[in-house]
Amino acid sequence: MLALAIGSAMAALMAIAAALATRRRAVAVEARLATASRDLEAIQQAFSRFAPAAVVEDIVTQGFSTQSEKKEVTILFADVKGFTPLAERLDPAVLVRVLNGYFAGMSRAIERHSGHVSKFIGDGILAVFGALESNPWQANDAVHAALAMRSALADYNASLRAQELPALAIGIGIHRGTVVAGVIGSADLVEYGLIGAAVNTTARVEKLTRTHDVDILVTAAVQEVLDRRFQLRAMAAATLRGISEPVQTYAVDGFEAATPRPP
């Protein structure tokens, strides 16, 4: 009887110990899952600034997204003028610091006007308006962003000069057109990207800022829908690589809230 009682007690104790161990393992697994979930959410929040919410959810839930669509967007491309000689002159650490400060200021200006920075390409910035969310005012937003970038750069240059560093000059090209937007890349590297002639045209319009010696150029596709309070100057039509007809562009001098330009 005593042996039976001791045996039963020991069996009970062993069962309790096993249950406690199982519970400890379950708690540890749940803690790891909670940590992984929080990390995933942080990635999701970060990625949602570069892709539409539906695309982000696809990637989170199934690891990929096949969503792609044709949409009309307004594209802004900005580039630092004379960057190559600048890069050769400056110490690498200083160059990176200057560039990052520039990127931060320009990104703020773009995002403040409902744009999204799609990518940094060397010293270039590719921004898009109307890609992540529908935006009936994308053309106006893009040009307001460009003016804000001009103003932000002036402030940044003042701080660079105070540090005895060379000031930066930029060219900005803005164009509006239809692109295919979707998740593109390989298994190892993907991005939410834009494909279409409009992207190339924008980059080439930016290059024209050097030809016309201005800092902001917009194409006719932008000009025709733009708020008449933007002060524009027509530039001579120029030939762009890959486009048979000369392209008409307009320099943006400013925005006069009280006085619209003539129709």
Partner: protein, 375 residues
């Protein structure tokens, strides 16, 4: 439309919401009738009631929207929709309240955390899952819910009125999220309280109190909305909600907003037009254009204002409130609070509250207009 009981699990860390700014309006003296109305609706007086005293209609409309005015959306689903939409809109205030309410009614922390992160992975009935997915689409409105979305709801057993009420529940959250976020209403201590040991002790009493309040309110009753005053928007959307008591709630909110003279009707109609255009709500934009025509604006003037979110013909206040209305459609919390501060410089507390209230209301109405398109 009910959800199965959640499983028990451990606590998890709350989400990082970033900085919640200072409230946009000062504290005033809260009206006794408003306090009584809030207590009748939700059983308590929120801490912000004094801050919206300068715009009485807003307080009464918030009271209406903070309780369940539907016939077919049960209390749990109503709270779950509020939680999901509030999180989607990054509304720290509403999210905290909804979370605390769900905890009072017995949902453990881990269930709520999983629900917030991805409600697709949580044990929900097909109907609840479909309702939450639809509610989030109503809130995001990009793209707007389509005929396929409505067909999906019908497949899991929702009637047309059920769908309208789910949409209204989401739109109620859209409204309250904007009021709380744009004004930066001070956070309630309720959520922190639900983390305390004392809460665990008195939770049964709180549940009893909440159920008593709901029992005293009674079920929402379907009543014909009062006749619309001339010139108030939302007629078509109200007709789409006609089989629900929610129609009367929305009617009262719109009528109060349009009858108030803190801001001119022209300003309110301009904001409504901009929000409708931003959300692709053709019905709402057409209604607002009609209202603007009655206020003396030509169609050419309205075309210019809507195309450019501005015009040399706008006065200084409208020149700021028109683009601000667009900013209220989709936003990040810190940025919209900063924008609100910039846009309302020089306005009285009453004007600020009315501007935010109208923006919030028209965001709800323009999202509800999907009921006209596909339902």
């Amino acid at each position: 439309m009910t959800s199965p009981a959640p499983s028990r699990a451990d606590d998890s860390r709350p989400v990082d919401w970033g900085v919640w700014g200072e409230c946009l309006v000062p504290v005033g003296t809260a009206q006794a009738d408003l306090k009584a109305e809030l207590r009748r609706h939700i059983g308590a007086t929120p801490s912000w009631v004094g801050r919206i005293s300068a715009c009485p209609w807003l307080g009464f409309t918030c009271a209406d929207f903070m309780s369940n005015a539907t016939l077919h959306v049960d209390a749990q689903l109503w709270q779950l929709i509020g939680l999901v939409v509030s999180r989607d809109n990054s509304c720290r205030y509403c999210y905290g309240i909804q979370r605390a309410t769900l905890k009072i009614f017995g949902h453990p922390e881990e269930y709520l955390a999983r629900l917030e992160r991805d409600f697709q992975s949580v044990a929900l009935s097909p109907q609840a899952r479909a309702a939450l997915t639809f509610a989030r689409k109503i809130s995001r409105a990009d793209p707007r819910p389509s005929a396929d979305d409505f067909a999906g709801l019908a497949r899991v057993g929702f009637s047309r009125t059920d769908v309208a009420e789910i949409a209204f529940t989401a739109a109620s959250s859209v409204f309250m999220n904007r009021i709380a976020t744009i004004l930066a209403l001070p956070l309630e201590p309720l959520e922190a309280f639900t983390e305390s040991w004392f809460f665990r002790l008195i939770r049964p009493l709180m549940v009893l109190q909440s159920k008593t309040v709901m029992r005293l309110q009674g079920a929402p009753r379907l009543a014909a909305p009062p006749p619309a005053p001339p010139g108030a928007p939302g007629t078509a959307v109200l007709a789409a909600l006609a089989e629900s008591p929610a129609a009367a709630v929305l009617r009262r909110g719109l009528d109060r907003a349009w009858s108030s003279d803190l801001l001119p009707r022209r300003t309110k109609a301009l904001m409504a037009a901009v929000i409708a255009k931003a959300l692709g709500c053709t019905n709402g934009e057409a209604e607002a254009r009609t209202l603007l025509g009655a206020e003396g604006l030509t169609s050419v003037d309205v075309d210019e204002i809507l195309a450019n979110l501005g015009s040399a013909k706008l006065d200084a206040r409208d020149a700021r409130l028109v683009p601000f209305a667009r900013d209220t459609v989709r936003y990040q919390a810190p940025a919209i609070q900063l924008r609100a501060r910039e846009a309302t410089v020089g306005l009285s507390p009453g004007e600020i509250l009315e501007a935010v209230g109208v923006a919030a209301l028209m965001n709800a109405v323009s999202r509800l207009s999907v009921l006209l398109e596909a339902c």
